[in-house]
């Protein structure tokens, strides 16, 4: 680990020059000769019967090349994990974002005008917008063919004996917490260009986070269109933000495919900001009933959680977030007895998806708020309660997670020290401190049958390297981390490493950018390939230099003998000799890394990840009792990352994640009224700006994860996981009121203060 030249250094992102000069090409910038522009007509009602749909006037508009409706889609073709979502709807619409028709035209303006010429008559139907209503016996069914509005997803985790533990606990608390819809707000809106060649093979220009899985989805779609055995190629443009939003394929992509097939032209669909707000899938809102107990010494005895999630009208990955919520529910702190039951419920609201943290922020908000209540009841300082119950290396948790490296205690101590906890706590002067911890997957997550990533390394004739990785860079900087690992292992400057990551025709398979897995999994894949190519180089160079390969090393692009410094050759020269000779060869290596983690068994138990990421956030706030405004005076974000491969980018994840978390805690909320979004733009849906940034101290704790590349674990999501409960707990310390419903707005604080004073 010593003498690292590239890994562990603050190296600027290798794609920063493209982005800082405006030269990076995003999906918005992709142009293909003959390209048409697609636009989608959405429902005007969240629940209605379509009485009439007449596209004839739109079809006659000059410049219009195709108008499509549900009847142009293959019958029974459905998308989403429950296959409950037809890309174009007919008969009934179930939500305000239901796609009912689409147009391809020579310009976006003509496409837009054509939409206005489509005549639709609806019979509005009463809707269900509250999941608790939708769960009731005899409630109207959102999907008539389903027997219940509760999804057939048996989220149920039982560890130990919760009822017995309740009887044996010295202190017990119970309460209900709820969270809101928030949305990713990627600056680059969703979009794609679908393009068929003469043989009906599809090329999809995309900003997906899951190129390999999207390829699979589109192959299925082509089969449904009757196009069997066709090739699908995904080419990713530079991705203008992900945060989980691009973890599924969406109706608009299938509509673009349909329009391209009909017109035989490339068809581009780019979302407006308005569409990005109402027609993409937000973080799901939750209602969580939680109960905790501890013994007289503060050791946790049980955790009992019941949760209802508003699934919306269709099903995407959002419905599977309980699988990740189980992680903190079963394993955040040592808790021997756990029960978790979650129900996802169809409503006429928007449907939900993955968003950074994948359910973990919602679960951790309930857990960590409840733990503060328990600490108060037990008369123990809340930070002390967490010290008593902190996770440790070597632990096997009730859900059978095998904890390898674990820096939770160190993170808690950093919060204690840097927040000046002892001095600041319990002052009752309008200022207060609070904290919350986190556990997240840090070594991949086996949610699919494979959690793998492939890498191919190709040496050129000049000592430079092309690395083909399955991993997608969505801005977080995975290309740079991969380049650092390859440069370090081979012994060349990072400038000599070129990372190619955006084309399924040339890049190996990868399950996608999710679960904070890319540095760990793609990093290990790059590490494996780089080791193999280094071996090949040394073996070939041994022959050229007439030296034992074991005595050779590579530094700064020079191959040399460690025994005889005279004997050396520039790497490029050696490669040319290997190539330009009778029976010569080009050096290439490939490596597929699939971590040794486990799918859950039927009881949702198993070692989901090879390693787990930990962290603790501590906050000092000042609350204005007159206005209800919360000011963050100090924010400590301590994270166990295993090893910081690039501290510059790592800090960027902590700052960026932290501020998203602060937005989640204190302000962001998609306001839906009877299924309609009321604040779908940046003027009404406020995300934090530079003025909202509190003093954040990122603290990096290194625990050297044995299975991580150079000891690293994941950090993509953890930055926003404990933010909201840490802030809620600090507010409680400051003014003695607990807000249990996110976001924590001044109105809620004033109402709570008023209620308390009564």
């Amino acid at each position: 680990m010593d003498n690292l030249k590239v890994v562990g250094k603050k190296i600027p992102k290798i794609d920063a020059p493209l982005k800082a000069t405006g030269a990076a090409l995003y999906i918005q910038d992709v142009k293909i000769p003959g390209m048409l522009h697609g636009k989608i007509l959405y429902s005007q009602y969240p629940h209605a019967r379509i009485i009439k749909l007449d596209t004839s006037k739109a079809e006659k508009l000059p410049g219009v090349r195709a108008v499509v409706t549900a009847k142009d889609m293959p019958p029974n073709f459905r998308i989403g994990i429950m296959k409950d979502n037809p890309p174009l709807k007919s008969g009934k619409v179930l939500s305000i974002r239901d796609e009912i028709a689409a147009v391809a035209a020579t310009t976006p303006e003509i496409a837009e005008e054509a939409l206005s010429l489509i005549e639709v008559e609806y019979e509005e139907l009463p809707g269900i917008f509250d999941p608790l209503e939708a769960m009731k016996e005899g409630a109207m069914l959102i999907h008539e063919e389903a027997k219940s509005n509760i999804l057939k997803m048996p989220w149920r985790l039982i560890c130990g004996d919760v009822e017995k533990a309740k009887q044996e606990s010295a202190y017990i608390v119970e309460d209900t917490f709820s969270t809101q819809w928030v949305t990713h707000c990627c600056l680059g809106t969703s979009g794609c260009v679908a393009h068929f060649d003469m043989h009906n093979n599809l090329t999809m220009y995309s900003n997906t986070q899951i190129p390999s899985l999207a390829q699979n989805d589109f192959v299925e779609a082509l089969n449904a269109f009757g196009l069997k055995n066709r090739r699908v190629r995904i080419i990713q443009a530079v991705i203008g933000g992900g945060f989980g939003s691009k973890l599924d394929t969406y109706a608009y992509e299938y509509i673009a495919i349909l329009l391209a097939l009909k017109t035989r032209k490339p068809v581009k669909i780019i979302f407006t900001r308005e569409e990005e707000f109402f027609a993409t899938s937000p973080r799901q809102c939750t209602i969580t009933k939680i109960s905790h107990g501890c013994d007289k010494d503060g050791r946790l005895t049980f955790r009992d959680v019941e949760m209802v999630l508003d699934n919306g009208a269709y099903t995407s990955w959002g419905a599977t977030t309980p699988s990740v919520m189980m992680l903190p529910i079963s394993s955040l702190y040592k808790v021997p007895n756990v029960r978790y039951i979650a129900k996802c419920v169809y409503t006429n609201n928007t449907y939900c998806q993955a968003m950074r943290g994948y359910g973990n922020p919602q679960a951790t908000f309930a857990i960590e708020s409840s733990l503060d209540q328990l600490a108060e009841k037990a008369g123990i300082d809340p930070l002390e309660l967490r010290r008593i119950n902190a996770n440790e290396p070597g632990e096997i948790t009730p859900q059978r997670f095998k904890i390898t490296s674990c820096g939770m205690k160190e993170c808690i101590e950093e919060v204690y020290k840097r927040l000046n906890w002892k001095e600041k706590r319990g002052k009752d002067n309008g200022r207060g401190v609070g904290m919350a911890s986190l556990i997240h997957v840090g070594g991949g997550a086996r949610v699919y049958k494979s959690d793998g990533c492939g890498t191919i390394i190709k040496m050129d004739d000049f000592g430079k390297v092309d690395v083909f990785t399955g991993a997608s860079d969505i801005g977080q900087g995975s290309d740079t981390v991969i380049a650092q690992i390859v440069a370090e292992v081979i012994g060349i400057p990072i400038e000599d490493v070129n990372v190619i990551n955006n084309d399924t025709d040339i890049c190996p398979w990868d399950v996608g950018v999710h679960a904070s897995r890319t540095t760990f999994v793609a990093g290990n894949a790059a590490l494996g390939a780089a080791r193999k190519i280094r071996e090949q180089i040394l073996e070939a160079a041994g022959k050229i230099l007439d030296e034992d390969p074991a005595d050779l090393d590579i530094k700064d692009g020079m191959v040399f003998s460690t025994k005889n410094k005279e004997k050396s050759t520039p790497l490029g020269k050696a490669l040319r000799k290997i190539h330009y000779t009778l029976g010569g060869k080009m050096l290439m290596a490939e490596y597929f890394y699939d971590p040794a983690n486990e799918n859950f068994d039927k009881e949702f138990k198993g070692n989901l990840s090879v390693s787990y990421a930990y962290g603790a956030h501590g906050v000092e706030v000042e609350v204005d009792r007159e206005t209800g405004k919360v000011k963050i005076l100090n924010y400590v974000a301590a994270h166990d990352v295993g090893k910081a491969i690039n501290p510059l980018l790592l800090e960027g994840q902590i700052y960026g994640g932290g501020l998203q978390g602060i937005g989640y805690a204190l302000g962001e909320k998609m306001v839906y009224q009877n299924g309609r979004l009321m604040n779908g733009n940046f003027l009404d849906y406020k995300i934090p700006t530079a003025k909202d940034v509190p003093p954040i101290q990122p603290v990096i704790v290194e625990t050297d994860e044995k299975d991580g590349p150079f000891g690293a674990k994941g950090i993509g999501e953890p930055g926003l996981v404990p933010t909201a409960p840490a802030i809620a707990n600090a507010i409680y310390d400051a003014i003695g009121v607990r807000i249990k419903d996110l976001p924590i707005t001044p109105e809620k604080i004033l109402a709570a203060l008023k209620a308390k004073d009564k």
């Binding site: 920063a16 800082a20 990076a24 910038d29 933000g241 900001r273 501020l659 940046f682 530079a690």
Partner: protein
């Protein structure tokens, strides 16, 4: 369709165009002149991704109609290089880790350039005030502020 003749100076080059009367400056730059560094992310003037300089002052090019700026000088991110070298702001954004997904970056840099045009040594508070007109979802802004500080120091 009726078109309007305009002459604008873009990145130090005089350009004659015939544009739609309702054409935004952003559309002209991106679609006619292939200057795609300015980004369309909201079309409402609320995010700042499309910021360019109009006679040295930062403006939202999605809110300005090209016929309105006849005779004006426009600078985009593509025109920021000086003597073939990257501008200190561009260098600082790269070095300080102020770039993540990059979609806001052009607008951020042009907003910061506008600030430095009128205030060579802005305080941290002035930098924050200035760039708070622009939205970034990735970075948490901290490193963007540091990058602008660094650039202003280097230019001093």
């Amino acid at each position: 369709m009726k078109t309007v003749k305009v002459t604008i100076n873009v990145n130090n080059e005089k350009i004659k165009l015939q544009v739609k009367p309702y054409e935004t400056l952003l559309e002209t730059l991106r679609e006619r002149l292939a200057l795609t560094g300015a980004k369309e992310a909201c079309s409402l003037g609320s995010c700042g991704s499309c910021t360019v300089l109009l006679n040295g002052t930062p403006v939202r090019s999605c809110l300005i109609l090209t016929p309105e700026v006849d005779g004006a000088s426009i600078t985009t991110i593509e025109g920021l290089k000086e003597d073939g070298k990257l501008h200190p702001l561009q260098e600082a954004f790269m070095e300080k880790g102020a770039v993540q997904c990059g979609f806001c970056t052009s607008g951020m840099i042009m907003t910061a350039k506008g600030l430095l045009n009128r205030n060579k040594k802005p305080s941290r508070a002035e930098i924050i005030k200035s760039i708070s007109s622009n939205i970034c979802r990735c970075t948490g802004y901290k490193k963007i502020v540091e990058a602008v500080e660094e650039a202003s120091k280097k230019m001093a």
